[in-house]
């Protein structure tokens, strides 16, 4: 099984000298191609920070990261964009308020100089289950769940292999969350995508992911498969506490 994402000894600190605050203390995990891997933790655990490092938002991290075998050093490039894309947490902040859906979806295509713009947009809208006439709507004219679908469509339009998901459903209503989770599971199967999902909700992680890592204060305390988690196989006390809280 080929490894899609390999993270080794990822370290990140903010501030200089005496005020230096270490946020990641040597995080490491592997994600196989076509697998969904979850990073679980509470706020301040560093799980979102890991995602941002992989997205290129933070560049001053140390460690060894390989995506599809190629070494990644944090720079934002066209090649990286075609390999990894991200879906953000807040559906109200992830779309440009003055761009129509069509403009938002066409943007990455223009940046990469791809042709058949309208065709690709229609294709990706159909994949996420949005009607085609949504192309000309502004974000404030569509609901939160629909915005998240547009965000997913935007992430998919470049046909990346790796999808970074930052709590994609935590800002959505329960009923809408179910739809989006189903969509994500479906898309992964259909297109053989690899997911790195960050969430504080064990239920969501258990639904979408095959394996997960539990983070606490910038460290991974345990890595296990979802099956093991659901069968009570958690070994670390913190993991067990999270499971207990989720099952309560």
């Amino acid at each position: 099984m080929t490894v899609m994402l390999s993270v080794n000894d990822l370290r990140l600190a903010f501030g200089e000298g005496a005020e230096s605050r270490t946020v990641l203390h040597g995080v490491g995990f592997d994600v196989a191609r076509g697998q969904a891997f979850g990073l679980v933790g509470e706020s301040g655990s560093g799980k979102t920070t890991v995602l941002r490092c992989l997205a290129g938002q933070y560049r001053h991290w140390q460690g060894d990261v390989r995506i599809a075998g190629d070494v990644y050093r944090g720079a934002r490039s066209l090649a990286h964009a075609r390999r990894a894309q991200m879906v953000f947490q807040d559906p109200y902040g992830s779309l440009h308020p003055r761009h129509t859906v069509r403009t938002a979806l066409a943007e990455p295509l223009h940046v990469h100089g791809l042709d058949r713009v309208d065709e690709r947009i229609d294709e990706v809208l159909q994949q996420v289950g949005l009607p085609l006439h949504f192309r000309f709507r502004y974000p404030h004219q569509i609901s939160g769940g629909q915005r998240q679908r547009v965000a997913i469509a935007r992430a998919l339009i470049l046909r990346p292999q790796l999808l970074l998901l930052d709590e994609p459903t935590s800002a959505l209503d329960v009923s809408v969350q179910a739809e989006v989770l189903n969509l994500l599971a479906d898309l992964r199967q259909k297109h053989g995508l690899t997911y790195l999902l960050v969430s504080h909700d064990l239920g969501v992680v258990a639904h979408l992911c095959d394996r997960l890592a539990v983070m606490q204060q910038g460290r991974i305390v345990e890595t296990l498969s979802t099956d093991a988690l659901c069968e009570g196989g958690a070994q670390h006390a913190y993991t067990q506490a999270l499971v207990a809280a989720a099952e309560a």
């Binding site: 934002r76 953000f88 308020p97 943007e107 609901s143 470049l158």
Partner: protein, 295 residues
């Protein structure tokens, strides 16, 4: 959160047009703003059709009819050279409009460009740009204009340049503040992650969002531009005689103000009306374009 029940727009242009129409409606719903828009429309109209609206030649002197009060022949009376005040006022709108437009066209892009770049990149770029802005900000516009005129000689173009040079820093500061707030927004990060170059992010994503507050500020600036130009004209440093610039009209009419009030009142009222109109428009634009207030 439900989808709005609007008829679905079917094209890019239609979507944009529907959005612009909604903003225009919001703008004109406020009666004060509507008044401001009307006055400015009047200004533009008069400036365009000045030769046809003016009753006399604004430059033609008629010394035997000097300092005539307002009458049927001369609606706003005549000045000390017997020139028709009304016609001078009408032709003066062209000069006022010229100054306001030129300053805005220079200051807008310049201020916004520097501000957005400064706010987006931060760090040394930001420090450099803002210190330069501080230098220009420390000059009162009238003083700088005096310096310019002393160096280059009096004239309308030099006055415009001087005003523009002191008017761009507040615009830059405003654009910078907006850019700083927005540069970490998710949609900006998304654009960067797609591989967009910095220029593209600035031009297509960041600048359009900074535009509304800059536009409002520019509109309100126009009022002070009118006043500064009038001030320069009053000091004899702007438009040179016999050009019918409103400020210089007040300056020339000053001596006869007590007996022939119309020589000063007419241009003064015009300056007041136009400044007020720009302020009202700016205020209305602020409310109409403010995303937080959108229903």
């Amino acid at each position: 959160m439900t989808t709005s029940a609007l008829p679905a727009p079917v094209g890019v242009f239609q979507a944009w047009r529907a959005d612009a129409a909604a903003t225009a409606r919001k703008l004109l719903a406020n009666p004060l703003t509507a008044v401001g828009v009307a006055v400015i429309a009047l200004l533009v109209g008069v400036a365009l059709f000045a030769p046809w609206i003016a009753t006399h030649d604004p430059l033609r002197q008629q010394l035997d009819a000097a300092l005539q009060p307002p009458s049927g022949a001369h609606w706003f009376g005549t000045d000390e050279f017997g020139r028709d005040v009304f016609s001078r006022l009408v032709h003066g709108t062209r000069i006022t409009l010229f100054i306001v437009t030129l300053v805005t066209v220079v200051v807008g892009p310049l201020g916004m460009g520097i501000g957005v770049v400064s706010g987006y990149f931060g760090g040394r770029v930001d420090v450099l740009c803002m210190r330069v802005a501080d230098v220009f900000l420390s000059f009162p516009s009238l003083v700088l204009a005096l310096a310019f005129v002393a160096a280059l000689g009096p004239g309308l173009d030099h006055a415009v340049l001087a005003i523009a040079l002191t008017a761009w820093p507040p615009i830059a500061r405003l654009a910078r503040a907006e850019a700083m707030t927005l540069r970490n927004a998710d949609f900006i990060v998304a654009a960067q992650l797609q591989g967009a170059s910095h220029l593209r992010v600035l031009w297509r994503h960041l600048a359009p969002l900074c535009l509304p507050s800059v536009l409002v500020r520019l509109t309100m600036n126009m009022a002070s531009v009118v006043l500064t130009a009038a001030g320069l004209g009053f000091l004899g440093l702007g438009a040179q005689p016999p050009l019918p610039e409103w400020g210089s009209m007040i300056s020339e009419g000053r001596r006869y103000m007590l007996d022939s009030w119309w020589t000063v009142a007419a241009p003064g009222a015009a300056i007041l009306a136009v400044s007020m109109a720009f302020n009202l428009l700016g205020d209305g634009l602020n409310d109409a374009l403010d995303p937080r207030q959108s229903s």
